[in-house]
């Protein structure tokens, strides 16, 4: 698998907070301090039998926090010491009862701590597994494919997930560099399977179909087959030719934004056909458009989650305006800013999977 760049929001599974040394020291010595206070009070007040029954409770102190085996044993030992100090001269039956209590509680707490530690490490393992699996199912594109530089960001609808119904892909093929951004109808984790299968089919077709229309028609047939409900996939298919031309075919997908000279605008003149899975409704019409970007142009591809993002008041996110405002920085910085801005904007509004893919076509010194 190609090395994946850090995606915008690969959130890590919450790991155990690493406690500092001082915290650990306080936690380790706390039972000892309690035993010392109890022993001092018991002896000075001549009421050891009053404090003796508290010793099993001291042994149970590690249960209050996240404690390791050593903490449990330490607390147990402290409690035993307390029993010894307070039991001197007390009635043997009380001493034996306290002793039994301390031993039982220590054993129980130790077993519980072990189990919780095992569960934690299992959870961490599953978290890593989920991360790797998500990256394998819907991998982010590499930083550069055939001279086309790419930056991707994904804001998943499901908290903690890095996958959803949005897909993107980039392949170097005999026909040039081919790019895809798509959006499977439906939301979040329910459509991950369909999304992965759609991406897989596109990747295969990208290497064997000579025209974008051919890819679209075959994907349409495939989507009709894999979508078990009345679903569809909107997609923008792109072919970057070696001579610098960029051909686009939109299957019901938002057009890209062209960033030129510090200004962003929606690319005009792109005649969209029906989404994949519904192309029969337009008699398989596949109109493509060809543009020839200038050397420093960027193209920002996005899904509905960005293009049709609304705030709590129902207003659309002014993407072109905001993108223009952020222009003048490195692509990564621009995308980071856009991502934070978008996340803030849609807070309170409806949440959908959202993906952005920034493309920088190869700059050619000798353009023909």
């Amino acid at each position: 698998m190609p090395k994946l760049p850090p995606a915008g929001r690969i959130s890590t599974v919450p790991a155990a907070p690493t406690s500092g040394n001082s915290v650990r020291l306080i936690r380790g010595t706390f039972p000892l301090a309690v035993v010392a206070v109890c022993a001092l009070l018991g002896r000075s007040l001549h009421l050891p039998q009053l404090f003796l029954p508290l010793m099993p409770a001291v042994a149970a102190l590690p249960a209050m926090g996240r404690s390791g085996g050593r903490d449990v044993l330490g607390a147990g030992a402290a409690a035993l010491g307390g029993v010894a100090l307070l039991g001197w001269g007390a009635r043997p039956v009380n001493v034996v009862a306290a002793l039994a209590g301390v031993l039982t509680v220590t054993a129980l707490i130790r077993a519980a701590a072990r189990r919780s530690r095992r569960q934690e490490s299992k959870l961490a393992r599953l978290g890593r597994l989920a991360q790797v699996t998500q990256a394998a199912v819907l991998p982010r594109p590499p930083e550069s494919v055939g001279g086309v530089r790419l930056d991707a960001r994904y804001l998943a609808a499901t908290p903690g997930a890095t996958v959803g119904g949005d897909i993107c892909g980039a392949e170097r093929t005999p026909f040039g560099v081919r790019l895809l951004i798509g959006d499977v109808s439906g939301k979040g984790l329910d459509v991950v399977g369909t999304a992965a299968e759609t991406l897989h089919i596109w990747r295969e077709l990208a290497h064997h179909e000579s025209s974008l229309a051919g890819i679209a028609l075959r994907m349409d047939t495939a989507v009709t087959r894999i979508h078990h409900h009345d679903g569809f996939v909107t997609a923008l298919l792109i072919n970057v030719y070696d001579d610098g031309r960029v051909e686009l075919l939109s299957c019901g997908h938002p057009p890209p934004l062209l960033v030129r000279g510090g200004r962003a605008s929606w690319l005009a003149g792109l005649d969209a056909t029906a989404p994949l899975g519904l192309m029969r409704m337009v008699q398989d019409r596949c109109p493509t458009a060809v543009v020839r970007p200038a050397p420093d142009d960027w193209l920002l591809l996005c899904t509905d989650g960005v293009a049709e993002c609304r705030n709590g008041a129902g207003e659309f996110y002014p993407l072109a305006e905001r993108l223009t405002a952020f222009c003048g920085h490195e692509p990564t910085v621009v995308l980071d800013a856009l991502e934070v801005d978008l996340d803030r904007y849609r807070d309170g509004g409806s949440r959908d999977d959202a993906m952005m893919l920034l493309i920088r076509p190869p700059s050619r010194q000798h353009s023909s």
């Binding site: 064997h208 000579s210 229309a213 028609l217 047939t221």
Partner: protein, 348 residues
């Protein structure tokens, strides 16, 4: 397209022999092209064959019309879409479809191959070679260069008259005199589409009016084929002009020129006369003969049946009227008429 069974029986009147012959040919050749001029009923015939269980009840039947397709590269894709199967994504469409079909018994009907004739020939031949139990029936105004060819002629006069009467009955028009009907059908050269278009006029005109109108052949060109009460037709067959315009797009520049010039012949003509009257520096003998063959190949001119040895040809009336209008638009009409008159005077 909506096609009721009843309407099917109407459009297939007089085609029983053709149905059987094409079916037999299809069993032997596996790839058969039905050819003939626009409106002769190729698609109706192919559609009827698609509904017959001739190849076995379990055969998969798929049908597609390539008329809207412009990109020859997408021919295999349209065929695959007709079957609703794609095959492995890791292969080009033609190979993938062949693999998906395998040895499934199947009948594929492909309409309107004339625009992409070369590519269709290539793809269909490859597909039939790769799939041992696939039969393909193509319809095309120009024959595909494949072994199985079936030229479909216009229907005989009495069948055409029957067609006309049946359409009139569907429109609840008053019954026309058999003699008028026969004369109308004779003027239309027995072309089923033309008969249907003329019958559609009965919705608001009498048969005598229709007949009077048709004696000016160019008037027939623009009659609408979509009469209320008759099922729909594709855009290229909404009128005879649309149908002929579709054919014109298939012609080379020389064929178009010759088509226009041949319209000066009111009746039949032979190649020698054509060379003399239509040939000049714009149309030298070599290209002229090629264009003449091309027009015959596309069924735009047809051998005169009653002449011996088959050297005489004629142009159907509507085709001629269309050519005549193009001749007049080109500004050559007076010159060609002069040449024709000079030749006639000399010959007499």
């Amino acid at each position: 397209m909506l096609e009721s069974k009843n309407c099917d029986q109407v459009t297939l009147a007089g085609r029983d022999g053709a149905l059987t012959e094409v079916e037999d040919l299809l069993r032997r050749q596996r790839l058969v092209t039905v050819t003939g001029p626009g409106g002769v009923g190729k698609s109706a015939l192919a559609g009827a064959l698609a509904r017959r269980p001739g190849l076995g009840p379990d055969a998969v039947v798929a049908r597609t019309d390539l008329a809207p397709l412009l990109d020859p590269g997408l021919v295999p894709h349209w065929l695959a879409r007709a079957f609703g199967m794609d095959g492995p994504a890791g292969k080009p469409q033609l190979a993938a479809l062949a693999e998906a079909l395998g040895d499934t018994p199947a009948l594929l009907v492909v309409d309107t191959c004339e625009y992409l004739a070369e590519r269709c020939t290539e793809v269909l031949t490859a597909l039939v070679d790769a799939c041992p139990r696939l039969h393909v029936l193509a319809t095309s105004r120009t024959p595909l260069r494949t072994p199985g060819l079936y030229p479909l002629p216009p229907v005989p006069l009495d069948v055409a008259a029957g067609l006309f009467t049946e359409y009139a009955r569907q429109l609840d028009a008053e019954e026309a005199a058999p003699d008028a009907v026969r004369r109308i059908c004779a003027l239309l050269d027995g072309l089923p589409l033309a008969v249907r278009i003329a019958a559609g006029q009965l919705a608001h005109r009498s048969a005598a009016d229709v007949l009077a109108g048709l004696t000016r052949a160019e008037a027939a060109l623009d009659l609408p084929a979509t009469a209320p009460g008759l099922p729909g037709l594709p855009a290229r067959q909404r009128s005879l002009r649309d149908s002929l315009g579709w054919s014109l797009r298939l012609c080379t520049a020389e064929e178009r020129l010759l088509w226009a010039r041949l319209s000066v012949f009111p009746g039949s003509f032979e190649l020698a006369q054509v060379l003399e009257i239509c040939g000049d520096e714009l149309l030298p003998p070599g290209p002229l003969v090629a264009a003449f063959t091309g027009l015959a190949w596309q069924s735009l001119i047809e051998p005169q049946p009653d002449e011996e040895e088959g050297t005489a040809f004629r142009m159907p009336r509507a085709t001629r009227a269309y050519g005549r209008q193009r001749l007049s638009l080109s500004g050559e009409e007076r010159e060609l008429v002069n040449r024709f008159l000079v030749w006639t005077l000399r010959a007499s």
